[in-house]
């Protein structure tokens, strides 16, 4: 069985899958204060999912969303994954959050030849995005929503874009030529079952023990950029 989770977007998502079948899937939205609740919710959801699946002995792989997304969210999920791996001696595989979002768009909803694009709200008026043209999602990019088509390399006529970033910047992204599912469509919400699904597709060979998974921050710390700017001027 695969235990999968992701806290890179505003929600906390946990699932267990067994040979392609979803055993359990849960998600929790932000807390009452509007802030992501991963620090409080994630481990309890994992604990319940693992007990429901028959205990840690049944879990053969941990699959964790490695972003891009909220820096704090990435660190909570990845430190949790690494510690579970260290304690249970099970391998970990990292899955791109953008790839999981792209995989959450049903193939039959995409026009023939159209790509599926996972879009995460990157704050600061930008998005993280990756396109799946039928062979799995590529490397994520960071860009302004209206520059999404070019940033992903073009050739995306008829593509569907989903995720919290697609919802937040719906008008710009639709104007850029993408179809965006209605806000409440499940495709816009990261699914941990997709994290498990992509991990199963990658096969056991990709999972590592000790865990080597690292976050996809896609941005350097501000202090580093300021420092370089100061040194240039």
């Amino acid at each position: 069985m695969i235990l999968g989770f992701d806290t890179a977007t505003g929600i906390t998502a946990v699932a267990v899958a067994d040979r392609g079948a979803v055993v359990s899937e849960e998600w929790a939205g932000p807390g009452p204060d509007g802030r992501p609740a991963a620090a409080r919710e994630l481990l309890g959801m994992i604990d319940a999912a693992v007990r429901g699946a028959g205990g840690w002995e049944r879990i053969r792989t941990v699959a964790v969303g490695r972003g891009p997304g909220s820096f704090t969210g990435l660190r909570i999920a990845i430190s949790t994954a690494r510690a579970l791996s260290q304690a249970r001696r099970i391998p970990v595989v990292g899955i791109d959050t953008t790839a999981a979002l792209a995989a959450g768009i049903a193939v039959d909803r995409v026009a023939a030849g159209g790509a599926r694009v996972g879009v995460v709200d990157a704050r600061r008026g930008e998005v993280f995005a990756a396109a799946d043209r039928g062979e799995g999602a590529g490397e994520p990019v960071v860009c302004r929503p209206r520059e999404l088509a070019e940033a992903l390399g073009g050739g995306l006529a008829g593509a569907t874009a989903a995720g919290d970033g697609a919802v937040r910047f719906r008008s710009e992204i639709e104007a850029a030529g993408f179809a965006v599912p209605v806000d409440e469509d499940p495709a816009n919400r990261l699914s941990a079952a997709r994290i498990c699904g992509l991990a199963a597709k990658m096969g056991r060979g990709e999972a590592r023990f000790p865990a080597v998974v690292t976050p996809k921050y896609m941005r350097r710390p501000d202090a580093e950029r300021w420092r370089e700017r100061d040194h240039r001027s």
């Binding site: 409080r40 909570i76 690494r82 304690a87 710390p221």
Partner: protein, 330 residues
């Protein structure tokens, strides 16, 4: 709880230790000081990223160095507050997950209780009651310790921490980061009486500290001198500033002792490594006939052995009561 694995990530050091009673079987600290030096101070996002890279190898090293493994540990302890929230979260998520995946209890620890509890550790453990003066880049605390499991704050800084003041002074004088050791080195060749610094002592006999006035005085002194003469007089400036910081710390300690009843003092925190502070505190305690416990340097700077020491006297939470436990900045 015979054997405790303790984790500390509240600031810029990634730490893990294995404790057995008052003895640290291992105490691993992976310092990020050099990483942050290039920014002239601690950058929270940089610290959080580094903690995530280091935490698991540091824990492995602590377990191995302690001649044990996770299965043979009775409880996991972790700093939950106060500190940089992103940094704390790496340690808390890790500790909770290690404990939950093995069904062990978790012991949440207050970082300041950790600094106090460093005095309980071998060699020569100190037992309450005692006065603790904890001075570092993050805290300036005078604590009354009457029991192992708690402490009362008698005085704390109203603005900058003493170590922070030294860092700022060092930056102002172009001496690098961390500031404490740099100021101490420079001050060795200077005259501490050459630049009078304001004495921040509240008339009400309070035990709180204040260092922002000293910093302002130094800013003015440097401004009056100009860059060239500042460089010439740097040793004198460093010596005067260090004298003022240490003078205030020792004056408040003297005041606390005047209130009476104390037979022992523990001096801890990163700035406790300062030679002048050690010398003055030693003289004061000798004069009063009070035992002074100088916490060893490796237990003064942030470390996980002190967190494990506090955990021995804190309330463990049995699995699964801690699954929703969160970190707190303050």
């Amino acid at each position: 709880m015979r054997r405790i694995l303790a984790i500390e990530t509240s600031c810029d050091d990634t730490c893990a230790a294995v404790l057995e009673g008052p003895r640290a079987r291992s105490n691993v600290v992976s310092s990020q000081a050099r990483l942050h030096a290039r920014y002239g101070g601690i950058v929270p996002e940089v610290a959080s990223r580094r903690h995530l890279e280091l935490i698991n190898p540091v824990i492995d090293a602590a377990l191995e160095g302690g001649g044990t493994d996770l299965d043979r540990v009775d409880a996991v302890a972790v700093t939950v507050k106060p500190g940089l929230i992103g940094a704390l979260l790496v340690g808390v998520s890790t500790a909770k997950s290690l404990a939950a995946a093995t069904g062990k209890p978790l012991i949440p620890v207050d970082h300041l209780h950790g600094h106090v509890a460093a005095a309980f550790l071998e060699p020569e453990p100190l037992a309450p009651p005692f006065l603790a003066l904890i001075v570092s880049g993050g805290h300036t605390l005078l604590a009354e310790v009457r029991a192992h499991g708690s402490f009362a704050v008698a005085g704390q800084t109203l603005d900058d921490a003493a170590g922070e003041a030294l860092d700022k002074a060092a930056r102002l004088l172009g001496l690098g980061f961390p500031g404490g050791p740099a100021i101490q080195r420079e001050a060795a060749a200077g005259n501490p009486e050459s630049f009078p610094m304001p004495v921040a002592m509240s008339r009400g006999g309070g035990l709180d500290f204040s260092f922002s006035g000293l910093k302002t005085a130094l800013v003015y002194a440097v401004g009056d001198l100009g860059p060239e003469r500042t460089l010439e007089r740097r040793a004198d400036l460093a010596a005067s500033f260090q004298e003022a910081v240490v003078g205030q710390l020792v004056a408040k300690l003297r005041r606390a002792l005047d209130r009476g009843g104390w037979e022992a003092v523990a001096l801890g925190g990163g700035v406790a490594a300062n030679a002048l502070l050690r010398e003055r505190a030693t003289a004061l305690c000798a004069e009063r006939g009070v035992r002074l416990k100088l916490v060893p340097p490796e237990l003064c700077t942030d470390n996980a052995a002190m967190i494990g020491s506090a955990a021995r006297h804190a309330e463990p939470i049995a699995y699964p009561g801690y699954l929703a436990l969160d970190a707190a900045a303050r």
